[in-house]
């Protein structure tokens, strides 16, 4: 008998008008000691399923029908009191955002201990002892001292450890982890996933891992359940899901994810948007977006059928059985091409020993200088016309600040930025404005980057208005043509941003950025706020536009696969420093800097084989403060190869190939001497 058995669960949410059928008949089972991954895009009902198990639905939500059996006991039928004794005791839960999931007013010790005291009926002191014990278990350094800390005194990673400790304090049989690492940096994500894995083994519990990240699933789950629009569309052991996908949705999902190996030239993208669950379509819910849909799909709902004993899917035209798999355009030996083209390009922007420091001040009137935050230190980089540079790094590494300086939103405190051979900040404000039209920014949050009070037409026309380009009629025309270029109809002109989806808004943002015919577009996390299926549309569009407009891109992202997909050359930043730069091949297949390698190994890939066999070099510890960065090599505090030399001397940039450079005393590959000197970066 499985530990947890969800049987035909329906969960609805009442709205002012009608109901959202968030979970529409889901059946999932989880065996003891097993990790089941629950994947799907936002709004597919995966979180609601988790919440339904815990019966922690929002006030307007309710379980309409179905059973949730835990050890044979139907949780749905329990009284509130009985259910409370299950929560935290039999089932533990971890949430997405450790920054907001802990009560800011209580010490972490008391927050852990209260669950222990409640369920294990021990006194406070005993509960506190247990709290220290579990904190120790989750790898919290010096738990004895940390027990009286408040959540805000801890970093995100440590907070998530506290969350885990809390969930595990009563040794539950089942752990529900809802996007446990989404809010964390890659290296921390790897730490936490590793921890969860080992704890699961140690405690012999079952885990329901809810995530949107196929990479996380690939490496951690024994079995995968794919949800779409409130329904389970496919479930199978992890290897099978990836290797012999049967449902077109699962397949499309996988095909729309850029690969770390850079083998994909163009992503598959799913047309349309998910259905409105307050009025779900009859028939297959994916039919509207499915390349294989027939009339039958639109009228009849396919049942979840088992192909094999452990593999089932709900489709009339399963790929791999009835239909053919999608073809994904594959890149030629990309790295080589980049190397060849590069020599023909001329520099567009040169960052010459650029630094940016923010002063931290104290005091009311005197404003004493309390320190400087060294956001970017001594960064040199040349951007060639027509190429795409990717900048990767964890949060706080200075990549966004670098982007801001490139579009002249921030002024560097040291060094120079040359654009087309001109010092960008050597101009009067008025001249700077006209130069600026060559430098545009693409924003991360498509919801915040468009003025909600303006019609789309006005938004796209605004840069033309500001720079007084053309007559009003010409501007109107330009707006229409821009819209069609990004794949939106001219009817959009009269609409407001809130009428569009996130992906469409990101297109509007692109159209606006293109209005001034810029030479360089800095895209700061261009797709990180978008769902996987939407993401691929935008990424493809970005590639298309680059070709048609001859654009130069700087793509800033924490997502290494996105950067790998878009960029010709990639820079890796750590704590304000550029530690390595090279072509995608150089960086991903042949990294020189230990940090780059560690970063790469931390990224979960949607390749179960690779994930399972990967040698994990998990970076230990947390990111040091940028106010007082470590001396010498900034990475030395977390580097396995670090010696005294690293602390005393800052490693210079050294070449490892034509376009490949890294700053490390003890690189992973051997240096290459280049006669022309080291300034070819």
């Amino acid at each position: 008998m499985p530990l947890l058995e969800i049987d035909n669960l329906y969960t609805n949410i009442r709205l002012k008008k009608g109901e959202v059928k968030a979970v529409g008949g889901v059946s999932i089972s989880v065996n003891a000691g097993e990790t089941v991954g629950l994947v799907g895009e936002s709004g597919c009902g995966k979180t609601m399923t988790g919440m339904s198990i815990m019966r922690l639905l929002p006030a307007a939500g309710y379980i309409a029908s179905g059973k949730v059996l835990l050890d044979g006991r139907d949780l749905v039928a329990l009284s509130d009191d009985e259910m409370r004794s299950v929560r935290g005791n039999d089932i533990g839960m971890i949430f997405q955002d450790p920054m907001t999931s802990l009560n800011p007013c209580l010490t972490i010790g008391s927050q852990i201990a209260e669950a222990v005291a409640l369920h294990k009926r021990v006194n406070k002191a005993k509960a506190m002892e247990r709290a220290i014990e579990v904190l120790n278990l989750v790898g919290m350094p010096k738990p004895q001292e940390r027990i009286n800390d408040y959540p805000h005194q801890l970093s995100g990673g440590l907070r998530q450890r506290v969350m885990i400790a809390m969930a595990l304090s009563c040794e539950p049989k089942l752990l529900i982890a809802d996007e446990p690492t989404t809010a964390l940096d890659v290296t921390i994500q790897a730490q936490i996933l590793e921890l969860l894995d080992s704890l699961k083994e140690q405690l012999g519990m079952a885990m329901l891992l809810i995530t949107h990240d196929m990479g996380v699933i690939a490496g951690r789950a024994d079995r995968v359940v794919v949800m779409y629009a409130g329904k389970v569309v496919e479930q199978a052991p992890t290897e099978k899901i990836f290797a012999s996908t049967n449902h077109p949705y699962t397949e499309a999902l996988l095909a729309s994810i850029p690969k770390m190996d850079g083998s994909v030239a163009r992503l598959y993208s799913i047309p349309g948007i998910p259905p409105d669950l307050s009025n779900p379509p009859t028939g297959c819910r994916f039919a509207e977006r499915c390349r294989l849909a027939t009339d039958q799909c639109r009228t009849t709902e396919p049942a979840l059928l088992s192909k094999e004993q452990d593999h089932s899917f709900a489709c009339f035209h399963p790929v791999g059985i009835e239909a053919k798999h999608v073809k994904v355009a594959v890149k030629e030996e990309a790295a080589e091409i980049a190397r060849i083209e590069h020599s023909e390009r001329k520099p567009l922007m040169v960052l010459d020993h650029v630094s940016k420091e923010f002063e931290i001040t104290k005091g009311a009137i005197l404003q004493r200088k309390a320190g400087t935050l060294k956001a970017v230190s001594d960064l040199s980089l040349t951007i060639y016309d027509g190429e795409t540079i990717g900048i990767v790094g964890e949060s706080g590494c200075g990549k966004s600040t670098t982007g801001s300086m490139m579009v002249a939103l921030e002024k560097p405190t040291g060094g120079k930025i040359l654009f087309d051979g001109d010092d960008l900040f050597g101009h009067k404000p008025k001249e700077l404005r006209s130069i600026r039209s060559n430098l545009q920014l693409m924003f991360q949050d498509p919801y915040a980057s468009l003025d909600p009070r303006m019609r789309v037409g006005t938004i796209i026309r605004e840069p033309l208005d500001i720079n007084k380009i053309g007559t009003p009629q010409e501007r109107e025309k330009k707006v229409i043509s821009l819209l069609s270029e990004v794949g939106l109809s001219s009817r959009a002109v009269e609409r407001y941003p809130h009428e569009f989806s996130g992906g469409q808004r990101q297109r509007i943002g692109l159209a606006r950025a293109l209005a001034l015919n810029p030479k360089l577009i800095v895209a700061d996390e261009p797709v990180s706020a978008l769902d996987v299926s939407i993401r691929s549309q935008v990424l493809n569009l970005m590639k298309d536009l680059q070709r048609s407009h001859g654009l130069t891109y700087v793509v800033i992202s924490h997502d290494l696969s996105v950067v790998r997909f878009l960029a010709d050359r990639i820079g890796v930043m750590y704590l304000g420093k550029l530690v390595e730069i090279g072509t995608g091949y150089d960086i991903y297949e042949n990294p020189a800097h230990p940090y780059t390698a560690a970063l790469l190994s931390a990224v979960p890939e949607p390749e179960p084989e690779r994930e399972k066999t990967k040698v994990r070099k998990v970076i230990k510890g947390e990111l040091p403060s940028a106010i007082n960065p470590p001396s010498g090599c900034r990475f030395r505090t977390r580097c396995e190869r670090a010696t005294d030399l690293c602390a005393q001397e800052e490693p210079p940039m050294a070449s490892f190939g034509t376009l490949h450079q890294a700053a490390c005393h003890f690189p992973l590959i051997s240096k290459v001497e280049i006669r022309t000197g080291a300034s070819a970066n």
């Binding site: 936002s42 709004g43 307007a60 600026r436 980057s449 468009l450 009070r453 009428e499």
Partner: protein, 313 residues
């Protein structure tokens, strides 16, 4: 630390309705039809209390401005028929000057509403300009301008009003000026606060990247986006001005008779609290309460519907 500064604004909000639910189920992919104004109006009209508020305001306005055309009373000549109980051609009796109370309620309501609206308009215009300029120029000018506002806010409105009303002889215009003079502070702070939060929005950054100046940012982006807050605040200000008038009248610092407003009618009537002349106490009081409640309901509803718009983004 801005948490405390924004306490007023932040807390007076009612918190998002089902934001969690809407967010997690529709995945931000919900399409709203029509313009956002339509959406706001739609949400607004769904609020039954808002309908009550609107209805009350319409009734009050009709009562005060159309009523006298239908119900003719002599509000010019006093009579010695004073403090008569309702009946005998005076449905609500007569007041201490022999005026018909029902007719007086209409005339008095006119000036109450006029004061409310005038104050709201003047204070909002001044406040928005001041707040926008502080936000527009920023830096040290902003600091100085906001310290001035802080300082003025440290002197309680009512006391400042009492002081000013005691020094200057109250006339309708002067009272409007004086009440406006203490009422512009909150819109100024609100608009400036909005400017501060809006200034860091990505779409404002986008304008900078396009080469747009601060002027454009303030006028085309910040002020239009703050308009909701401004309108809500103005609604509350109408209500507050009517209340303040009543209190000033009660304290003997309002408009002298024969000019009448609900506040002065009420405070005159209060003199007869022991004599059982209820018709001098309750009608004017009810008129004030209903009107003030109405404006508060409307303001609340507008705020809610603006929030809904934000939730649907």
């Amino acid at each position: 630390m801005s948490k405390i500064d924004d306490l007023d604004e932040g807390l007076s909000g009612e918190g998002g309705d089902n934001s969690e639910i809407v967010g997690s189920t529709s995945g931000g992919e919900a399409y709203a039809s029509g313009s956002q104004l339509k959406l706001i109006v739609q949400t607004f009209l769904e609020n039954k209390l808002a309908i009550v508020g609107i209805a009350l305001v319409v009734i009050a306005t009709l009562f005060c401005f159309v009523g006298p055309l239908l119900y003719h009373t002599n509000q010019v000549t006093t009579s010695y028929n004073i403090t008569q109980a309702p009946g005998h051609g005076h449905p609500l009796g007569t007041d201490q000057n022999g005026y018909d109370v029902l007719g007086r309620l209409m005339v008095g309501g006119q000036s109450s509403l006029e004061i409310g609206f005038s104050v709201a308009i003047i204070a909002t215009v001044i406040g928005v300009l001041y707040g926008a300029i502080a936000g527009f120029i920023g830096g040290i000018v902003d600091t100085i301008m906001m310290r001035i506002v802080d300082t003025l806010l440290s002197i309680p409105t009512l006391l400042l009003l009492i002081y000013l009303a005691a020094v200057f002889r109250p006339t309708l215009k002067l009272l409007i000026v004086v009440i406006s003079a203490v009422s512009w502070l909150s819109p100024a702070r609100l608009v400036r606060g909005e400017a501060l939060t809006l200034r860091v929005r990505d779409y404002v950054k986008a304008v900078r990247v396009m080469g747009g100046g601060s002027r454009r940012i303030v006028l085309r982006h910040i002020v239009p986006n703050a308009i909701g807050t401004i309108v809500v605040n103005a609604t509350f200000q109408i209500a507050d001005a009517i209340l303040v008038m009543a209190v000033l009248s009660y304290l003997g610092l309002g408009l002298p008779p024969p000019a009448a407003n609900w506040g002065s009618m009420l405070s005159d009537g209060v003199n007869y609290v022991y004599d059982g002349y209820w018709w001098l106490i309750y009608p004017a009081g009810l008129a004030i309460i209903l009107t003030v409640v109405a404006f508060n309901l409307i303001g609340d509803a507008i705020r809610d519907s603006l929030e809904v718009r934000l939730q649907k983004r």
